[in-house]
């Protein structure tokens, strides 16, 4: 029993089992919850293993690298697996409390599990083409979920999402082809070894730029973010929580992996370009958020603005910047998903999430208000909440590298984030008007808030125990940037086929 493949295998088998199970029922839900819990346990164990020992490598079918396909779990991948299974568990449970099994769509749970399969495969894979396959598994599940419970207006918003991702997939396919021609291999470790001698080859830079377009599109980096802000709001709240937490972060993870582990480190032009695109993403994202007048729309734009911070850290390209990026990812995934879930609960109570018609929430449901406030301030970056430490570290690196304009943009984006969060706070929580009713009798909101409270507790723990989390992030960053150790780990595994070592 090889542990490294379990994060892909478990959700896949669960999804297939759920397909055959058929009609939604409490038993089917219990089974899904147990499976999601088991995935979280496996991911936690993987984090423990990779933190205390070396990366885990599993050759598929026992064919050794570079000719066989390998699955590699290093600390960063394990952290991402932990985050994805945590978010999946929380959003699945939230979905259970939101609607009874009688009105649940029978395909929602299997599709969520397929989505998790794709996301986890993207974290685990050790070669470029399997990354493409992982993206496609993830995207096809996400297309289906996007239109599963959609009405006429929603389907219209789903089409641009599909179209732009189709173009992105095609470009990725071309990128994989070029990489194969250029390096003669698709294995990450093998590319890393061969590319080092070619770092002044313009073709490597061109390939890096092509991959930058593809992964930038997945992550939602300026100017390729237009698909996101209109498509996420059409999702039902629990699914939107999962999407907002994980999908764009897969793009950020892949940027970390490809720029850190795979491609040579002296592509300074590409890194600078990335940093400036990140600056633009922060500003345009937060301006978009201000322009929106409903909770899910504002939060969708905030994803982009936050992506800007992470990508800025990648663009600064030092080990400490990578650690800051990883810390920021950990903070952001939990905060963002829980904010979407708070938004869903608020919309349930007010029966709308249009800010003009919301209000009275603080008076009637102070618990929900407190949860929102904690996460909103964390997103804006107030100490001692988790967002502050991530932003602080990124700004420190920026100042060290004398990128004053980018640091200024980041601070401006933070202030505007606070502003747009206060917009939600003022309208929905503090605002009082006679005509908007708060449906407190709808008892579902209490149990939904409990799920959110659990996520907020984790988020608070990250903020208060920032040093410990940062230590883990730092080790993950050093591991990502150490190409030799990565290659050694991959090639030390022997199997059929090739002799070990390139």
């Amino acid at each position: 029993m090889n542990l490294a493949i379990q994060p892909v295998l478990l959700p896949l088998l669960t999804a297939v089992a759920l397909l055959f199970w058929g009609r939604p029922s409490p038993g089917r839900r219990t089974f899904t919850a147990i499976s999601a819990g088991a995935q979280l346990v496996v991911a936690g164990f993987l984090i423990h293993l990779t933190y205390t020992q070396s990366p885990l490598v599993m050759p598929m079918g026992n064919w050794a690298a570079p000719y066989g396909i390998v699955v590699v779990v290093d600390l960063l991948a394990a952290i991402m697996l932990g985050l994805s299974s945590f978010t999946a568990l929380a959003t699945i449970l939230y979905g259970f409390f939101e609607a009874s099994p009688r009105i649940e769509h029978p395909l929602r749970l299997p599709l969520v599990q397929f989505l998790v399969t794709g996301i986890n495969l993207a974290f685990l894979t050790g070669d470029l083409f399997n990354l493409f396959v992982a993206f496609e598994v993830m995207l096809i599940a996400s297309y289906a979920l996007l239109t599963l419970e959609a009405d006429n207006w929603d389907v219209k918003q789903a089409f641009p999402y599909l179209a732009i991702n189709l173009v992105g997939s095609t470009l990725f396919l071309c990128g994989a082809g070029f990489a194969y021609r250029l390096f003669g291999t698709l294995n990450f470790a093998d590319i890393a070894l061969r590319a080092r001698a070619m770092s002044d080859d313009p073709r490597v830079t061109a390939l890096a730029l092509l991959l930058l377009v593809v992964f930038g599109l997945k992550a939602g980096v300026f100017p390729l973010y237009c698909w996101l802000p209109n498509s996420y709001p059409i999702l039902p709240a629990p699914v939107a929580g999962l999407y907002s937490g994980m999908l764009t972060k897969v793009g950020v993870y892949v940027l970390l992996r490809v720029l850190g582990t795979v491609l040579p480190h002296d592509l300074a032009g590409v890194h600078t370009l990335l940093a400036w695109l990140a600056g633009a993403t922060m500003i345009f994202g937060v301006l978009g958020a201000i322009s929106r007048n409903f909770i899910r729309g504002i939060l969708s734009y905030h994803i982009l603005s936050q992506i800007g911070f992470m990508v800025l850290a990648i663009g600064l390209f030092t080990p400490f910047a990578f650690a800051a990026c990883i810390f920021y990812i950990i903070h952001h995934i939990i905060v963002k998903s829980s904010l979407f879930l708070v938004g869903g609960t608020a919309a349930l109570l007010n029966r709308t999430d249009n800010l003009d018609r919301m209000g009275n929430l603080w008076r009637q449901t102070p618990l929900l208000g407190l949860l929102f406030l904690l996460q909103a301030l964390s997103l804006a970056g107030l100490p001692p909440l988790s967002g502050f430490w991530g932003k602080y570290a990124i700004l420190v690196v920026g100042l060290e590298q004398r990128e004053f304009v980018l640091v200024g943009l980041a601070i401006l984006a933070s202030i505007l984030t606070l502003f747009s969060m206060l917009k939600i706070w003022n309208a929905a929580f503090w605002g009082s008007s006679e005509e908007c009713e708060v449906c407190v009798w709808d008892w579902r909101w209490l149990r939904m808030s409990q799920i959110v409270a659990g996520m907020v507790a984790v988020s608070l723990a990250i903020g208060l125990g920032a040093e410990g989390v940062f230590r883990v992030a730092n080790r993950a960053a050093i591991q990502v940037l150490d190409q030799e150790a990565y290659a050694r780990a991959v090639f030390s595994v022997t199997g059929k086929g090739a002799p070990a070592g390139p």
């Binding site: 083409f129 493409f132 396959v133 496609e136 995207l139 096809i140 297309y143 289906a144 239109t147 006429n152 207006w153 389907v155 219209k156 918003q157 789903a158 089409f159 599909l162 179209a163 189709l166 173009v167 997939s169 095609t170 396919l173 071309c174 994989a176 082809g177 070029f178 194969y180 021609r181 802000p229 209109n230 709001p233 059409i234 322009s291 929106r292 007048n293 409903f294 899910r296 729309g297 709308t352 249009n354």
Partner: protein, 117 residues
């Protein structure tokens, strides 16, 4: 052969881009189909010039073989492309049923996304 293949791929990409930017659903659909075929052809050409090489069949022929890996990649890409294209067809059909139009510009002409109820 390489130059002609490169030109063909370029023309296919150009056609696909042109078609995708059109308003008609059918043209958009054809654009995406051409696009995926252009990408597949590009992958195929990545196995290098086939001149003087033999088909990649194990145990036959003594000369150098054509690199078989890109062909395996194309197979995967074709299957995935087929699935996604099927989804695209259904999505466009659903859009047509909902909105009673096959014109993308008409579809998005009067949309204000800043407020969604």
């Amino acid at each position: 052969m390489q130059i002609e293949t490169a030109l063909l791929i370029g023309v296919l990409f150009a056609c696909a881009t042109y078609l995708i930017l059109q308003n008609s659903f059918v043209k958009i659909l054809f654009g995406f189909i051409v696009l995926s075929n252009a990408a597949n052809l590009l992958l195929l050409s990545m196995s290098g010039a086939p001149d003087g090489r033999e088909a990649p069949i194990a145990g036959q022929g003594a000369g150098p073989m054509v690199d078989p890996l890109p062909q395996a990649l194309i197979l995967t890409a074709i299957v995935i492309g087929f699935g996604v294209t099927a989804y695209l067809v259904v999505l466009l059909y659903r859009l047509f049923l909902d909105q009673k139009t096959t014109n993308a510009a008409e579809l998005y002409a009067d949309q204000d996304t800043s407020e969604h109820t």
